[in-house]
Symmetry: C2
Subunit: 209 residues, 2 copies
Amino acid sequence: MKQLKHVLLERLMHYYHFVVERQDAADGATVTSTQIAKLVHMDATLVRKDLAAIGVRGYPHVGFRSHEVVQAIRDALGFDEPHRAAIIGAGRLGQAIASYHGFTPYGVDIVALFDIAPQKTGLIVGRHEILPLASLARVVAEQNVSIVILTVPASAAQEVADRAVAAGVRAIWNFATTGLVVPDGVFVHHERISVGLAELSYHLKQDAS
Amino acid sequence: MKQLKHVLLERLMHYYHFVVERQDAADGATVTSTQIAKLVHMDATLVRKDLAAIGVRGYPHVGFRSHEVVQAIRDALGFDEPHRAAIIGAGRLGQAIASYHGFTPYGVDIVALFDIAPQKTGLIVGRHEILPLASLARVVAEQNVSIVILTVPASAAQEVADRAVAAGVRAIWNFATTGLVVPDGVFVHHERISVGLAELSYHLKQDAS
DNA sequence: TAGATTGTTAATCGATTAACAATC
DNA sequence: TAGATTGTTAATCGATTAACAATC
């Protein structure tokens, strides 16, 4: 399958949530492209194109089988191939994420939480004990960690990312407010929280005028 | 000015961070469209088009004055028109946001933190005391709150959003994992954290194959 | 069956890129 | 000045939408 675009991934996730939510228990439950389109405020043709792109076939006069849509999206996005993740930075955000149980349905399992501050070592957060950053390489190797969730201050982000990459991590979820430079083959998803703020600010401004 | 598109806002924020970071103290500091483009991995023409769209003029042979770029983006996005925000839901995520000081440069000031649980009332989080949800309408009115940051469980999100809208809030930053229905004129930005997860998962899958 | 819905081709639309004159 | 850079027009590219035959 050819590389899926960022915007397509975004739309697929949107469809996914909608279909999962309304999926009746019955295996035969169906959903039409029009129903999906209405919720997502798009054209039904685009929904059909997107679903065709990941190999879901619909049934004329009926629509799409909900469980087929759900499974095709899970396959396309790799949710059924489990990955282990470690959080680096046990500040409030790191702790919030460590305590959050919502990643499991997407195949991501948080197995460790690190912080550089010695006084935090050993503290328990949710199901995790805070580990010293010095043990990062060992834990990544032992537990086969492929994702690092970076919740450290911007000033430390690049250095910590370098260590994670050296340890063999292949993807970084970057919550720090700074860009990262990483070698080819390592994927970075930069969570730009300020973009959300910008949207709010902009729309309030529009309202006013 | 015509309505700016979501993707343009996103690109503008990207430029903004880059220019702010490299902005030398000198007021005369300049930056070329090529320099911005290289960082953002785009075509320089698009950068020029985007900047032209918000009214920044460059100087041939020189580039763009950094402070003009920064100010034009701030103006376009409304960062210099301050807004007051309240957080609803003093769980870990709500507390993490309440303790975060990074919103001020974008004109957003967090003035209150609410939770429905009586046993949380009165606790101090950062600079904020947790208030009972019953006082929402009063505080929104008194403090002129225009933004609500929603960090409650999905099951409570719609009901809380309704109360916020009734109280006169005009924008909602939704961190709950469920869609919201709101009247026209109220803007919702849904922070879909799982999209980030999906991207990571998808790219790890690509790597593997 | 008739009507509803898909899948696909063609048409449209908009966004990005290329080309290049204008400028300093 | 010569070379670098912008701003803008035209060309390209890709994504979305419209149209409609095929299907159940």
